[in-house]
């Protein structure tokens, strides 16, 4: 659905989404990288389990919650990608030890 601009020639970095390598660009937020990855990156909400994607992309709606490098409930739209970053699509509530 999303397509990168032809003029986006920032250096590329590699992140991992549920273990699979995904190409991103330096300066992408985690949410932007997930949306452009063309993978199914829908999380499941904490109470009803409804599927959600990042929405406001500015830190307000909390629909981008995702597990980053083992820490749950991070706001993907506020975290820049880093090379080797491990992303897990969060299904439901955060686990207490993560």
């Amino acid at each position: 659905m999303f397509k990168r601009s032809d003029q986006d020639n920032r250096p590329s970095v590699q992140i991992f989404v549920d273990g699979a390598a995904v190409a991103a660009h330096e300066g992408d937020t985690v949410s932007a990288a997930l949306l452009v990855s063309s993978r199914d990156v829908r999380r499941a909400t904490a109470v009803s389990g409804a599927p959600r994607l990042p929405y406001c992309m500015m830190g307000v709606c909390f629909d981008c919650l995702v597990t980053i490098d083992g820490v749950g409930n991070r706001q993907g739209c506020l975290v820049p990608v880093a090379d080797g970053m491990q992303i897990e699509i969060q299904k439901g509530r955060r686990e207490i030890g993560r």
């Binding site: 904490a46 109470v47 686990e95 030890g97």
Partner: protein, 379 residues
């Protein structure tokens, strides 16, 4: 004179709602008078425990009354579900009070012994458990936990949903709920009560004062007294997490929807608009010493609320001799006792007589006595 309702309930919080719902259930016509949204609503600041252990030191009748409520809560939850479709998520699988360090363990042990030695109290099987025994049930406890007390009757509930269920039930029972109508005067003539509110007057055959701390002001209007000494409490709430805490604690519980509530501070201050962060910090610190994993969770809300608290901590149920048909009811544990308010107190109000064998000990006449007990109504 034209009588508008069988019973007017003054106060639309958890206690008033439970009594009103119970009266509606018995086929009475009921009006509930409530304040507006900026009222100091204890019912929205509560910790949602259905709690038995350590209740009633200094007044054995309170232990009996509390055990009775805990035993009928399941029936209340089932009736609310049947009537409204709302599941209030009652869980009564036993609760803990954890201690940090040896001193706290010893103090709690002494309390358990004093409770056991009290004559006339119901046996509710509260016992002390070592840290290793606690760890078998709550494996995520931290190394500082020295053990704690356990009572198999303890539990918790979704109190906001309970509140909503009562109000949903109002509509099905035909109970009229009137917000923004604080009662400023109550007159009694011709066997009826006339209640004055900013939006008009109504007549009722009986009146139940269920206005929490405001009962202190209202009770004398009908020849009753309700000496109150409210306290403030603070609560910290985390983001939702996967279930990790299978039993509620006195100061920590995980709600059915995953948030972790940390609470039970007690302050004399009565301003509920601001928080004392130094108190929240102590609460959060103790919580993470009990469960070190909690340190990773984000706090999403915290608030201060005013507790309804009769002067000696025990409930007040009374009926007026000078104004027959007027009742007062207030207590700290509006969640725990909700079932008894809905079933027992409502039945007694409908019959026009409080039953001394059940609630005689809770008359406010005890405050006039020299030997009035002072105890703790909560945990």
């Amino acid at each position: 004179m034209h009588r508008d309702y069988d019973v007017a309930v003054v106060g639309g919080g958890l206690l008033g709602s439970a009594v009103a719902w119970g009266l509606g259930r018995l086929g009475k016509t009921v009006a509930v008078f409530d304040e507006g949204d900026i009222a100091k609503r204890a019912s929205r600041a509560n910790f949602a425990l259905v709690w038995v252990q350590s209740k009633g030191l200094g007044m054995p009748a309170y232990t009996v009354w509390t055990v009775r409520a805990s035993e009928t809560w399941g029936r209340l939850a089932a009736e609310l579900k049947d009537q409204t479709g709302l599941d209030v998520s009652l869980q009564q699988n036993g609760g803990f009070h954890l201690t940090l360090g040896d001193d706290e363990f010893e103090q709690r042990g002494q309390l358990v012994t004093r409770m056991h030695n009290q004559v006339g109290a119901a046996d509710y099987k509260m016992e002390m458990l070592s840290a290793s025994a606690v760890g078998k049930v709550l494996p995520l406890i931290g190394p500082e936990v020295s053990g704690g007390s356990y009572c198999p009757l303890d539990g918790h509930v979704n109190s906001l949903r309970t509140f909503r269920a009562f109000h949903t039930g109002f509509r099905q029972f035909g109970i009229d709920y009137f917000p923004e109508r604080p009662v400023s005067a109550i007159a009694h003539s011709g066997g009826e009560f006339l209640l004055t509110t900013p939006k008009g007057e109504i007549h009722a055959g009986k009146v139940v004062l269920a206005a929490g701390n405001a009962n202190q002001t209202l009770a004398p209007m009908v020849g009753l007294s309700a000496p109150m000494s409210p306290t403030r409490g603070q609560i910290v709430v985390t983001e939702r997490a996967m279930p990790f805490l299978p039993h509620p604690l006195t100061v920590i519980r995980q709600t059915d929807e995953g948030t972790v509530m940390i609470g039970d501070s007690k302050e004399d201050e009565l301003d509920d608009r601001v928080l004392k962060l130094s108190i929240s910090a102590v609460m959060a610190d103790r919580a993470q010493r009990m469960f070190p994993h909690l340190a990773r969770l984000n706090v999403i809300r915290s608030w201060a609320g005013i507790r309804v608290m009769p002067q000696d901590g025990f409930p007040i149920y009374d009926q007026s001799e000078s104004h027959p048909g007027a009742f007062v009811a207030c207590c700290h544990s509006g969640v725990t006792l909700a079932s008894s308010h809905a079933f027992e107190i409502a039945r007694m109000v409908a019959a026009g007589r409080l039953e001394p064998e059940l609630v005689g000990a809770f008359s406010a006449r005890r405050f006039a006595s020299e030997r009035a007990a002072s105890g703790s109504g909560d945990y």
